[in-house]
Symmetry: C2
Subunit: 340 residues, 2 copies
Amino acid sequence: MPRVIVDAMGGDLGLEAVVEGVARLTIEDNDIQVVMVGDADEITRALGEQRVDPRKLQVVHAGPAVAMDENPKQALEERPDCSINVAMKLLAQGDCDALVSAGHTGATIVAASHHLERLPGIRRAALAAVYPTEQRHGPKEDPFALILDVGATLNASAEDLVSFAVMGAAYAQIISDNTSPRVALLSNGTEANKGTAAIREAHQTLLSHPDIHFAGNVEGLDIPRGTVDVIVCEGFLGNVVLKMLEGVSEVVTDLAKDAYARKFLWRLGLTMLSQGLRQLRAMTDWKQYGGAPLLGFDKVIIKAHGRSNARAIRNAIKVAAKAVERDLAGRIRDGMSAVE
Amino acid sequence: MPRVIVDAMGGDLGLEAVVEGVARLTIEDNDIQVVMVGDADEITRALGEQRVDPRKLQVVHAGPAVAMDENPKQALEERPDCSINVAMKLLAQGDCDALVSAGHTGATIVAASHHLERLPGIRRAALAAVYPTEQRHGPKEDPFALILDVGATLNASAEDLVSFAVMGAAYAQIISDNTSPRVALLSNGTEANKGTAAIREAHQTLLSHPDIHFAGNVEGLDIPRGTVDVIVCEGFLGNVVLKMLEGVSEVVTDLAKDAYARKFLWRLGLTMLSQGLRQLRAMTDWKQYGGAPLLGFDKVIIKAHGRSNARAIRNAIKVAAKAVERDLAGRIRDGMSAVE
């Protein structure tokens, strides 16, 4: 019976979207228990408008979220009652197994670092993102792959990159039922001698890891193609790559809108293609895939996108519960103990 | 009267494409002189099939090109008569002003480093790429922007990034008639304190440069949008970004082909949209923009894409001639002398 803490504050769409997602989950067929952390009055009021199973739900009061323009370290120091801090403390106390938040990413990372233990051998936590690819992945033929770190680690060492590979493989196994996900290092060439010193050293270590299906280096071309299941890079690079994918998706949408507005013939053509475009959009809308895991701690943490709607919140909680049930932390522990 | 050396060997489409592009240029209204370097017999034979103005053309014999799978340093040592080496030596001797090659990128960079002088203050040459953007740029409303370095410089220092900014601004001025191109550093956040130590330090230096319109930091999102005219980053990152753009373009083409094949209604829709799609394709086909300049030397060097056809070769030579006429090297010298 997985117990998942949900930070009710801080999502761009407001507390109502989070409450609706949680309520929907409680009346579905599952054994997930949810603890919602946030303004108790507001949560209660919002719950009143939803169909909900109260036996699966608990509410813990907390103050407002860390705002997007706040410095997370400072905010957490000045307002220890902010929702992510209260939620993370609760998670650390051990009754619960996982946490989902659609709030400030930096604040989630800082709060996790304050309150949780890192797994053995993990020097730095990593934020991983699921993104759409042309090729399909795993036995379920998922149209997405995993890339990490997309947080803000600068100057990742070879050891960091190896631990990212271990964590990414463990997470891909869980979400894609993929027993042996292909893992690669992102570099400026496929040869083993390409890239920074850290990449070259991590390459050698990963070649000898007994449990990782290491596919060597991949290049920028391989990101949208989806040649491998897990792409490993330092956070600075991953951040640029992920935002660029987001930008490309926005530009394509803009261009389609522009074509729609400009000519009757184009409008007609787009209407005929609407089903195909919907499929394309579904493929490029990675927000549906349940959020980004923050990997490296002894508890499961899922960072849902700020713009998550009720369905996205529900998906994120289900992914968190799945990661608990399939023992994400244990898999990472095993993978790290096999690093030479 | 600009004199441009053209490496006739090494393009993926063979010597014929290069010869056709050169021949076409000679019969147009311009005063560009071309020196073709390569297998003299083959060039002469290929020229026989073209309409050409022989007064604008000279041929210098050389051996075969460096092959794509060769190590460029080793190849240049073992075969000093290879076309790029002969062409670069000729360029260094001073009769000619610029060089265009569709051959091995690494070999072009190595040969330039052997034979040419770097401009004052330039520690490392940079390869810049023109890529398509949503927003338009400069008085000609060009649908493309510049990104550099996309070569293979690892660990660019703050000084390197500043020199890339100066060189990128100079080149954008020339190709886009843009007197004050907006230049930005690629980072993981727009704030001045984001990014590596080198990025933060370069940020401060660029703020005080009198002639550079410095727009601060941009993020991955801004690459496809084209928020600025010139994006500066280290070569490793630029390489990943550029290959990723190429990959996205290929994936979109694949998806459109797939939609065309699958349903009659979709095929009809795509046909109605064909004019719009042609515009989109033209926008995403950055190969038409004349190639990538290798910046930092006292001569103009344009690396045309390996798959350049006759039109692309002609465009690359015209761009090279324009950079000579507008004194690219002088502009870079001025920009570097203003760095504090």
